[in-house]
């Protein structure tokens, strides 16, 4: 196990280094492509090993990471001075001071520093299957008039290694180091193009994520001071004694990393970078640290005031981000808002903490990773091949980019419709919450989930509606030849999503439920054949298949079905001059955005102050 984990972590780092140094097309392409089978196989081999396991690390690694931490923070401080951004510099110096304090307080612990359990292994698989294709995509994407292809791909691959490392650590001080490393990676990638906007947005991402770092350090201080422990596994040993304040700070860092409002701006800012950056940030890495962190502490916070406040906050973000997304016109921004929204739902499930809710959260993490990776890859294709960035440029996309539109259609359907994973997550959540309605009052949560999914549905329908708009017949469908790399990545995601959806019942019952069981206990979910059962409710296979066929027909059939009927003009009151109808921009919502954010700040403060018991 130790060797496999080491390989999983070190391999991307080495590959990234080679790519960075070689700067040759052949090396870059072959190595990134090799990562896919290599990482997948290693992750799978690790998955079939007995787990969970704790892995001892040599002492020098600890020392190395401490030194690395100081180097990293010093680099941030330096960047703050170079970029003349006092906020970054101040935050970095605060972190430096806090880190020194933490290191002085830290007593020696015998607990190993690496902890590999089901969640970690699930993340390994996600990183390998979802993350690596994005790197492959980046190798071609960067050929379209972008500079610094090799260093970019190197950073992307390296990021995967960082993510693999981040989800396997047990020591929270190490976790801090890796948390800051992901910050660094996103900082470099967002600022990659080096123009003014990129620099501004990378600064934004840096200082916002540094707040998360400070929160982790504060949590560490409290943990060490009150409980004398600083490992995740030690926290779980006697949950009742753990200080709420520290958990509040940890949740705060999760909220920041998960781009929950009011800290959502940095994730939106990430869209100025090349599209693979967004793909990698949104799908497999970075933001997924947020639900990961909440999942880690979910057995401890379950049922506390902190969990309830987290539920209220993340649920609020789930709805409001979906609402605000309606008023956006940039395709990548829409995707970013829907990520923020669904991240809220994932964290909500993790915060509820019951077996079914945790299962729902994991299902959402997995399917969201696939669908978002897919959608951003297609957004990249749209941007580079078809030069489409805004949704009002998406008109007649069905003729210009039929395959890409079909993939986008499928990705969107995956985000909210029956019978895809995201829907199953919501369904589980509603049923689970209805369960405890009998004991307490979680009515707000039901309204959140119901409303949020309705808003997300109308968001996707609105965008899809524009891209199929057409006055006359759809005859001149123009199958543009796309580069093989793009096609490979698209089809890869498409096939994975499709097959996972068909076998969703065994997938959830045999893969996800055991993972949830390791966190929160066995959920009452099982599969008979391809039918999914949860408590008394059943999602029959004929329903899954029927919905899948319907959805499949809706998104793919228009290219094949040609009715032999006469074509007439669309009704225009009989007038001859053309009338255009754009789509609503929901200006009325944009007006209230300030209020939404203000309210989310209030909720945020409530989580820290009330939930953490600071008052």
């Amino acid at each position: 196990m130790g060797a496999l984990v080491t390989l999983n972590i070190v391999l991307p780092w080495i590959a990234a280094l080679i790519i960075y140094l070689a700067k040759k097309d052949v090396v870059t392409n072959v190595l990134t492509f090799l990562m896919l089978p290599l990482l997948s196989i290693i992750a799978y081999l690790a998955y079939i090993q007995p787990h969970p396991v704790l892995i001892e690390t040599p002492k020098w690694v600890d020392l190395l990471i401490t030194v690395y931490d100081f180097g990293l923070l010093a680099y941030f401080f330096y960047q703050g001075i170079v970029r003349k951004n006092s906020l970054i510099a101040i935050l970095a110096s605060i972190q430096l001071i806090f880190l020194v304090i933490v290191l002085l307080m830290m007593n020696h612990s015998l607990t190993p520093n690496l902890y590999i359990d089901d969640v970690t292994l699930m993340f390994y698989l996600i990183v390998a299957i979802v993350g690596v294709p994005i790197a492959i995509f980046a190798t071609k994407y960067m050929d379209y008039g972008e500079k610094g292809k090799h260093s970019f791909v190197a950073i992307v691959v390296w990021f995967l290694g960082v993510m693999n490392f981040a989800v396997s650590v047990n020591n929270i001080e190490w976790f801090f180091a890796l948390f800051e490393t992901t910050t660094l990676a996103s900082y470099i990638m967002i600022g990659f193009r080096g123009d003014k906007e990129a620099v501004n947005n990378s600064n934004l991402a840096l200082w916002m994520n540094q707040i998360g770092g400070i929160a982790i350090l504060l949590a560490l201080m409290v943990f060490i001071k009150i409980n004398g422990v600083y490992h995740f596994t030690d926290l779980l040993k006697n949950p009742s004694l753990i200080s709420m304040a520290a958990l509040g700070f940890l949740s705060l860092s999760a909220l920041v990393k998960g781009a929950q409002m009011p800290f959502h701006k940095w994730l939106l800012g990430a869209m100025v970078a090349p599209t693979p950056v967004s793909a990698i940030l949104h799908s497999a890495t970075m933001v997924k640290i947020a639900p990961y962190l909440i999942l880690r502490i979910s057995p401890i916070i379950k049922g506390t005031l902190l969990a309830k406040l987290l539920i209220i906050t993340t649920g609020y973000v789930f709805v409001v981000a979906a609402v605000i997304a309606l008023s956006q016109d940039n395709f990548k921004k829409i995707l970013a808002y829907s990520t923020i929204s669904l991240l809220g739902l994932m964290m909500l499930g993790a915060a509820v903490g019951t077996p079914v809710a945790v299962t729902a959260s994991l299902v959402l993490i997995i399917f969201h990773a696939f669908a978002k990776g897919f959608l951003f890859v297609e957004a990249g294709v749209l941007e580079k091949v078809f030069h489409v960035k805004y949704i009002n440029q998406m008109r007649r996309l069905i003729e210009r980019a039929p395959l890409t539109l079909m993939f986008i259609f499928f990705g969107f359907l995956n985000m909210t419709f029956v019978p895809f994973g995201t829907f199953i997550g919501k369904w589980m959540m509603i049923e689970e919450v209805s369960n405890f309605l009998q004991h307490g009052s979680y009515i707000l949560l039901i309204i959140y989930v119901g409303a949020g999914s309705a808003f997300l549905s109308i968001l996707y329908m609105k965008v899809l509606g524009i891209s199929v708009r057409k006055a006359h017949g759809i005859e001149k469908i123009n199958f543009v030849k796309l580069p093989a790399t793009f096609n490979f990545v698209s089809v890869w995601y498409y096939v994975w999503l499709l097959s996972m959806t068909i076998f969703i019942a065994p997938f959830i019952a045999d893969f996800v439920v055991p993972i949830a069981a390791s966190i929160a206990g066995q959920a009452d979910i099982y599969a008979t054949g391809l039918t999914l059962h949860m408590y008394d409710s059943t999602l029959y296979f004929w329903q899954i298949l029927g919905a899948l066929i319907l959805i499949f027909l809706i998104h793919a059939l228009p290219y094949f079905v040609k009715f032999k009927a006469d074509v007439v003009h669309p009704y225009n009151c009989g007038e001859v001059f053309p009338r255009h109808m754009e789509t609503w921009n929901f200006e009325c919502i944009a007006r209230y955005e300030g209020y939404f954010v203000a309210f989310s700040i209030a909720l945020f403060i409530m989580v820290v102050v009330l939930g953490g018991g600071l008052l």
Binding site: I430, I443, I446, I458, Q543, P558, H580
Partner: protein, 276 residues
Amino acid sequence: MINVILTVLAPLIGGVVYGIERVVKARMQKRVGPPLLQPFYDFFKLMDKRPIMIHSLHALMGIMYFIAEWFALAVLLLGNDLLIAVFFHVIAVLALVIGASSVRSPYSVLGALRELMHMISYEPLMVLMVVALYLVVGSFDIRDVLNYEGYPILEIPLVFFAFLLTIPMMLQKSPFDVAEAHQEIIGGPEIEYSGPFYEALYTGKWIEYIYVFTFVFLFGGSHYWLGILLVVLAFLFINLLDNSSARLDFRTMVKFAWSVLIPMAALNVILLALWQ
């Protein structure tokens, strides 16, 4: 058994219901009204028209709407989870909206966008209603609801009332026939369909009647007479409302749903949860 019959014959029964509705509406206006089987005459007439279309995608989506609507009804009646049935209905809306916004006719696109507004008005409420039924019965299974000994309507009257006012949104009845709005945007999503393709939409609407009134029927629990009574009363109430009210703005509709209906239903659910 009866649910299988109801599912298979849904378009027929829905057509009769629609015929009754047209007669009832006419009688409310002191008119004679069309014959009871008028919807079927319309159906046959439309079969006999020359098929014309804007483009294949648009025509296809009309047919998909019909199939998805029927499938949603099958899921409701033959499956065992009410919540899933609610979400299946969204697929039908998807087909309708994609079809309607795929043509460059202002009315059609406007209708599609308003259809979305309908969806955010009734969708959360449907979820709440199902959860309320779950609270009463203790199961999401439609069979358990129909075997429930008590009277769900007495335990969740406010939810029922909220749902009663949601029905006009789902069936496109005044005052909430915003998306269809025959005098204003001439049918909205359905404007560009003609002949056999319009048939799919026309029949899909009939199935929607069965879909909606099945939910009303559930409020009677195992007392089927009560369920039937509720369905009849709801039917008459909807038609009375349809005849006696003017169309509202879609903003008013959304505001009404979110500031009156949903809080009302939520209040009922909270009180019931505390009571138990």
